[in-house]
Amino acid sequence: MTLLGRIVAPFVILVLALFGGMMGARAGDRSAVDPIRDWYRLTLELVRHTPTYSPPVASRAFAYLGVTAFEALATGDDRLVTLAGQLSGLEPPPSRGGGPAYDDPVLVQAAMAEVVRDLFANTGPTGQRAIAAFEKKLRARAADGIDAETVARSEAYGRAIAAHILAWSRTDGGAVVQNMGFPATYRPREAPGAWVPTSLVAQQQAPLLPGWGSNRTFAMPDGSTCGTPAPPAYSEEPGSAFYREAAEVHRTVLDLTPEQRAIARFWSDDPMLSPTPPGHWISIALRVLEDDGADAARTAETLALLGVGLADAFIGCWHAKFEYDLIRPVTYIRRVIDPKWEPILNTPPFPEYPSGHSTQSGAAAAVLAGLFGEDRAFEDATHVDDGLPARTYPNFRAAAEEAALSRLYGGIHFRSAIERGLEQGRCIGAYVTALRTRK
């Protein structure tokens, strides 16, 4: 039947890229950049399809995956400086020793396969099947033309690096996520400005991951390091700062321009329907790296630092969210201003202040600007497969500010959460850019 087998064009492109000519520009040139990029592409999809992978959980996975790739290369590249001793709790990885040579593509492939399999051990049968298929094909491709002894030695070393990173990951407080991150019971604080559930989903009558802010951080000392000032005091008085911010959200949504609506949708990055906000920034980084023809070391360095920045951003943001425990716009506006008001985005099921997307975008932009420059323009095609056209930005900061404002357009955040979130992210990003990765 001619109807069968219709595959959407982006999918075809991706499959061809993965198993055909993705590295066409480097045809015949074996590089560890290939397994890094390929495993990241699969990881972006696994994040979307693994139900525990809310944005904080996704950011954690990106951090460990990036550090794995970087450490696997750093042990054999004199230009690079290990992150051991710089990231909280990370001990020096096993050394390669001074013996026979290792093959970087093979060992990086093996290390990343191990970490992806572990971090996504809870993904569904389709994800498991995809991981196995990827590993089989990427392993064969990495080992092509390499003698069996070198392959075996390199794979064993890659697995040792992975085991080292995974052992480190187990003690950070974020390794176990139950009930998709929602506590079985939760009693909201009894105060007029306190967060209350906004969803008709029974599971979301408790907030997502209330303890995430206590997790071990990567580059900054702890979750409180880049704390935010308090939001405007809760008030229902029309002249108050709080009321004015709510009125701005209310009016903005009612008067949305097509461009504002497009921005809200573009940065919506809903869990289970997208690679999540941290995955969005990983996607941006992969694009920039590809445009630059970045080598394996540069790719791993970028993904490690960005992952660390995103992960710390979510820890810091969550720490502040549950410190201030603030009401969402939809609750306040319906209570005080307009009972029938509807935001255009689904209100996330956790306290409002500060904005998670703002914090993590602020951090991501700081990290990427540190690597690629303050004025690096780029195209963001993260959601083309889902029918959202690519957008272009003059620099990372502009993208972060747009991502942050998208939450106002979407009706899910007040302005203070957006602006203080960006500031918090920049503060967290500074800890990441202070890390030393090169001699």
Binding site: M1, L3, P10, P51, N122, P125, V201, A202, D385
Partner: protein, 538 residues
């Protein structure tokens, strides 16, 4: 075929053993039926087998294949062989089935729906498969033969997972909709590979064969579809529930099917709002007696119950639905037995009145996809009893049907013709299970079988109205929905304490039959233009 006989059934008496579940408010007690599992002795032992390509599906077709008006049972076997079982249960007695050689012993079957395609009075069966779909013509006596070629049905070669049928106005042959899932050949990267759903319309007006299937583009990995007259326009739309696990840019869908024209999706300009869930099953019923069906959509974690947001809108309701699952207490998002806090995975759903109190209850089959550790492994099926205030009370455990096998399809049907609905569940990797509703219920009941002349003999698309006092129960006669499972035969209504009820049928072409009074606790053949005829099982 058994001759109809006039009969009189004395009212059932409430048994002292009957359980009454009493919610917080006085006067809201609901009767909990007591089921007895008879899997071991009933004779149905088919397993829905297979690995990844059979992680969805696992259905049953419940229909009378031998003309005795008992519900016989076909069970999909997945990678194994499907089987048909003849109902040999005595009236009111234990459930007994006998395996038959029927011609339906086919491998690769995911779901099955009975449908009298050719209007000859014998149910045919549509078999959805991982591979070529089959239409199997019933030849009588529970025998079936392949009819793809004879009826011009192109069965394709897909991973087919959802089915619905209707008779479009003025046509002599049904229109079939087949929902397809992902491209099963994509091992490494199946996401975004949803294959087209198909609309098999008649070849031409008056033709008794199908045209080449029309692709329903875009398609988003449907796991349940249903032709339903959601706005009571007289022209059913096609509701499609899609699995967000695999689509890109997708959502739930509602198609408009103008007669003789290409299907058109409802969109934002009509008010349609995107909903993105792990859509797996659809159950429809007019729960609030406003004349419009509500739709229960199964998913993972929270399930949805959709009601029209503005049923009284001037010019007819827009396709805007509000989720009332939380308010009605049917999110069914977590197991209600055991101590796990992990979310549930729901598949087949069906509204029926299992306690005969005059209010439709909700049956939901649950089961982990395979071994997904973040979702409940011990995930009991739900039996949610509707209370007088319209909310629902979980009674799966107290009713004795809280199976934690890995369920998929299912059916509620009166297998032993005693007026009480029994239960069948198809399980992945384990035998199907059967429960008999074993104790008398205080409520009374009616069961109806519609007949009309012409090709749509079973009056698919009709609405049945049952009036007791001020209250009218309504249900649409449909083929489709659920998860991989379909039924034909008796349509059951509980009547509560009423000793009789008034019946009216709104036939598929819109003609309203006369109201006629029927005594409670009886089976009736309702033929268009004629008084209902009581039928006595024997």
């Amino acid at each position: 075929m058994t001759s109809p006989r006039i009969r009189s059934i004395p009212p059932l008496l409430a048994a002292a053993a009957l359980i009454w579940a009493v919610p917080a408010l006085a006067g809201e007690a609901v009767a909990v039926p007591r089921f007895v599992e008879e899997t071991a002795t009933a004779g149905i032992d088919t397993i829905y087998a297979g690995e990844w390509e059979f992680m969805v599906g696992g259905g049953t077709a419940v229909f009378d294949c031998d003309g005795d008006r008992r519900a016989d049972v076909f069970v999909a076997g997945g990678a194994g062989t499907a089987a048909l079982f003849r109902n040999a249960s005595a009236v009111g007695g234990p459930l007994r089935f006998e395996r038959l050689q029927s011609g339906l012993e086919v491998e690769g079957v995911s779901g099955a729906w009975p449908l009298d395609v050719d209007g000859d009075g014998i149910q045919d069966v549509v078999l959805l498969r991982v591979g070529e779909n089959l239409v199997m013509r019933g030849t009588g006596g529970c025998r079936f033969e392949r009819a793809n070629e004879g009826w011009g049905f192109d069965g394709g070669d897909a991973w087919s997972t959802a089915f619905a049928a209707t008779w479009e106005r003025g046509l002599a042959w049904p229109t079939l909709a087949v929902g397809n899932y992902i491209d099963r050949n994509e091992e490494a990267f199946p996401w975004g590979s949803c294959t087209d759903n198909w609309l098999h319309r008649p070849a031409a007006a008056g033709a008794r064969r199908f045209a080449a299937p029309l692709p329903l583009v875009p398609s988003y990995c449907a796991l349940s579809i249903l032709f339903t007259d959601w706005n009571r326009s007289g022209v059913p739309g096609l509701r499609v529930s899609n699995d967000r696990e695999y689509y890109k840019g997708g959502q739930e869908q509602l198609w408009r099917l103008p007669p003789g024209e290409a299907p058109v999706l409802y969109g934002p300009s009509e008010g349609w709002k995107p909903l993105k869930i792990w859509g797996m099953g659809i159950a429809a019923y007019d729960l609030d007696s406003d004349g419009y069906p509500e739709y229960f959509l199964t998913s993972m974690a929270d399930n949805k119950l959709q009601a029209l947001a503005d049923p009284g809108a001037v010019g007819g309701p827009p396709p805007v639905f509000a989720d009332v699952a939380f308010a009605r207490g049917v999110t069914a998002h977590r197991p209600y037995v055991g101590d796990t806090v992990k979310p549930s995975t729901a598949w087949h759903a069906q509204f029926e009145d299992v306690n005969n109190d005059g209010r439709a209850d909700l049956f939901v089959v649950k089961g982990n996809v395979a071994e997904m550790p973040d979702f409940a492994a011990e995930d009991p099926n739900n039996l949610l009893l509707q209370k007088p205030d319209g909310t629902f009370l979980e009674a799966g455990d107290t009713a004795g049907v809280a199976s934690t096998a890995i369920g998929r399809g299912g059916a509620l049907a009166d297998f032993n013709l005693d007026g009480r609905l029994d239960m069948l569940v198809v399980n992945r990797w384990r035998s199907a299970q059967l429960w008999r509703s074993a104790e008398p219920l205080p409520g009374r009941w009616l069961q109806l079988e519609l007949r009309q002349p012409g090709p749509n003999r079973d009056a698919i698309g009709a609405w049945i109205e049952i009036r007791t006092g001020e209250r009218v129960q309504r249900r649409e006669v449909t083929v489709g929905g659920g998860h991989a499972s379909g039924q034909a035969g008796w349509r059951h209504f509980g009547l509560g304490e009423a000793s009789s009820a008034e019946l009216r049928v709104l036939w598929p072409d819109g003609e309203a039959g006369d109201w006629q009074r029927l005594e409670a606790d009886g089976f009736y053949i309702v033929e268009r233009g004629r008084p209902a005829i009581a039928w006595t099982p024997g």
